[in-house]
Symmetry: C2
Subunit: 139 residues, 2 copies
């Protein structure tokens, strides 16, 4: 990971959740995130596809949560917006003539999938609702 899509997506969802009475425009979200609306709309494509949000076109349109904030975990969000969803990358250039080069992927595979699972478990325990609650307290 070295992009901020996950953090931005969480930000977006938190903003949306603060007022569930109406759809929120990408422009409003963008001004909270500190970027521009087109970028937010691009990110929303992933969230819409994952059925986490749903967008409405036209005047008084915008985006809403597609399901309760309490049912959306950070893991859901991560999976939705991060195509790779991989914490670590292994170089694809290893020399198969060498016993290490031939096995490096398998050697690291176990550890890396363990870390992957741990992270998914942690992210799976926190929901957007939890974050919204903190914002409401912090103000």
């Amino acid at each position: 990971m070295s992009n901020t899509r996950f953090a931005v997506a969480v930000h977006v969802l938190t903003v949306i959740s603060l007022d569930e009475t109406r759809p929120i425009s990408s422009q409003l979200i963008a001004s909270s995130v500190g970027t521009n609306a087109a970028l937010i709309r691009r990110l929303l494509i992933s969230l819409n596809d994952a059925k986490i949000t749903s967008s409405e076109r036209g005047a008084s349109g915008g985006v809403r949560l597609a399901r309760p904030a309490s049912s959306i975990t950070l893991f859901d969000v991560w999976r939705a917006v991060d195509e790779e969803g991989q914490l670590f990358r292994v170089h694809p250039t290893s020399n198969p003539q060498c016993p290490v080069g031939r096995n490096i992927e398998g050697l690291l595979g176990g550890v890396l999938s363990s870390t992957q699972c741990m992270v998914e478990a942690v992210l799976g325990k926190v929901t957007i609702r939890d974050l919204v609650a903190k914002v409401e307290i912090a103000g």
Copy 2:
């Protein structure tokens, strides 16, 4: 993380560990990793600095482990070669006028440092010796 420095470093250390009787040249390592020697030498700067390896110049020089393979964890390696050492990045553009923008870093901070700890714990449990043993079995 989206670079392969960690995986390459583990690869390098495993190669070195397979023959501890002599220093291994960056050229030999490079041919196993599938890259060139200068890049390996650059990576070795970090491992040398962390006292994980030590290099010897000149004819019949090369690089050796600076301490037993059984004492080098993957966490040590990660910390040595990955400056950031951060799994997730948060966008730095948030609007402080917005309650979400103002708090997003704190909101995510807790979760992200949890995942960070989990990962460090998992990586801390596997040593280079463990990986070498697997190579010796797998061949």
